[in-house]
Symmetry: C3
Subunit: 269 residues, 3 copies
């Protein structure tokens, strides 16, 4: 199985699929091709929230603002999964997440460089570099990927560790003062529903269902269901990723709370 994620919109992903299918009979599964454009941190977030749900697979992830520069192509192996992506950090958070979910001893995160010849284009390495690489890794098998001539190990990192030789991506850490009932964090992404997803862990809201909290001074009730408030009304809840999010029932939380990705959020009350 090969999953595909990119910020390419349409129809460029089709060229990637064709290239893969020329080289492999793998089942292809589209993850998303409208990841926030050229936004490595947001792409890393969404990969972390989706790819760990898949069975072992090769995951092709192409959000690549550095295309055409000398940034490397990477294959990151974690357990039976492999992530094929540019060396810009996009695959590290999901690799750590997959490692953390292995019930026995968490596997290392192994970072391999994938050497490529001068590609046909300088602007579409998704088609010319990463799709062939993903197909090659799939065909040889994730277990045996180091037998590919193009592949060389750069470093192996302990499950929650940070690599030294490849680019990492870390999400900002919130400050949570449970005693004072205050948390300072940041909006990581806004999803398609308009929910403003912060980096404040959901545990901040433990035991507060029904209470009122303030988000940057805007009041809203803590609920477990959207339908706990009327249509058009604000709510604060723990989203499906485990973080505090600022939402509106049948509306857009980002607009109602005045929040955009990267904005600071102060939760109080």
């Amino acid at each position: 199985m090969i999953t595909l994620a990119s910020d390419f919109g349409s129809p460029y992903p089709a060229a990637m699929k064709g290239v893969v299918l020329q080289r492999s009979d793998a089942r292809l599964v589209d993850v998303a091709h409208d990841l926030p454009r050229q936004d490595v941190r947001a792409a890393a977030f969404w990969c972390r929230e989706t790819l760990p749900y898949f069975p072992p697979a090769v995951h092709l992830v192409v959000v690549d603002p550095g295309v055409g520069t000398d940034r490397d192509a990477l294959v990151v192996r974690v357990g039976e999964h492999a992530l094929v992506a540019p060396d810009n950090g996009v695959s590290l958070p999901v690799a750590r997440e997959i490692a953390s979910e292995v019930s026995e001893a968490a596997p290392d995160v192994e970072c391999f460089r994938y050497d490529y010849d001068d590609p046909a284009s300088s602007t579409f390495h998704g088609r010319d570099v990463f799709a062939p690489a993903a197909a090659a890794v799939h065909e040889v098998g994730v277990d045996a990927l180091e037998t590919l001539d193009a592949v060389s190990l750069v470093e192996s990192v302990v499950p929650d560790g940070s690599p030294e030789s490849v680019v990492d991506c870390r999400f900002p850490e919130p400050t949570v003062d449970s005693g004072a009932g205050e948390a300072r964090g940041e909006v990581l992404v806004v999803d398609d529903f308009g929910n403003a997803i912060t980096n404040v862990p959901g545990s901040f809201l433990d035991g507060r269902a029904g209470e009122i909290v303030e988000v940057n001074g805007v009041s809203a009730p803590v609920t477990t269901a959207f339908a706990d408030v009327d249509a058009g009304e604000r709510l604060v809840t723990v989203g499906s990723h485990g973080f505090v999010e600022c939402d509106v029932n049948r509306g857009r939380g980002d607009e109602a709370f005045g929040l955009a990705p990267g904005d600071e959020v102060v939760l109080a009350g």
Copy 2:
């Protein structure tokens, strides 16, 4: 085969696909993930217009404004098809349509409750409840779904009947006075082309090709092809779903006729 339909946009459907693929080798087919958001009636319409074209399958349909409340999860079986969806009516119109298309004796529409444990999230039952349910139904087989412990029959309804114990969804009925040449109906949905699709049956236009009709007082010719009028011009035709629709050749009918979902339409002339 498992089809997937939702109003989740992107990339949440990928998590559903991963969850299914952890549990099943089924072929997955995306129907749509941009169904009108949290609009059960529109979703029921689009499911009715697309799912009956598929061979027997498990259809995962998640448009779920009641997520996190105590609404049930349902499995609706009709012939060799099963619909896995929230108990909000979204799967009843398509189930009746599938029943009606069986050439011999139409099968009953059997409504089963699918019991679920406390899910991982209160906001993403597509991932945590419905995707596992769809995989379980697929793996046991639609014929044998009642052998699943989680499944219990709520009621069995005659092909065109209405259930009493689960939520139904009925489209509004138009009033057609063929003698007076007048029909009163409603815009059910506006499609991606901007075609305003009403609930007036296409038979209202039988034998009128080339005539002029009025839609809420706005005149347009009855045609069978978009290209029968110039680009940018209004037309009234029978859409592919068998209903009267108000369109513009190479343009948006909703804007040209001033129509939105839910609006009343009076057809005359």
Copy 3:
């Protein structure tokens, strides 16, 4: 394998998929369903840029402003590929491209008419005509498609030739004066990134990396990577299709250069 491309948006493509799957077990691969609406030339461009990357397949291409008129349905065979599409030219450029990429003697482009009975709708031949046709061609095999009763050869065209009896689509030819360092062309399409893709061959920029060129009087450097200029800055580069394109790093080239599909472009300097 059957690929699917259309301008149908969502969810109409699902009905096509269902119809195909009723008749065939083929692997389905979505190319795009948001091709520029009813724009045959743009659709022909995108088919040419994506379909040749696929292994031999039946390609269903439905951009069909003439739906419901008496335009024919075509099957265009080139080597082991078949294109099933309306007779409006959309499949000719890609057929020529596929022919040109065969390393030995390029195959002819064979154009077949596909006769169809009165379809269920006059507005959705994607579902009622082309999807069943694509399934039928797939099931009988591209090699043997003329054994289908519905199929009759209209004409066979030499690889780079133009047909006489079916509609062709040709992209406009640019005027390149390499001595004067000037090229006059046209914007063929604007992609999802906002890159304005012209019909001027990339060779016009050979050896000019780092130089400044003017596009309709607007200056920008010639680069090989987006990241060679700062975010928000204009650049001119050779796109992945081999044409000159006018872009902005992390922004929209169409807006920055004031270009839309069909606009004339004069490159100088």
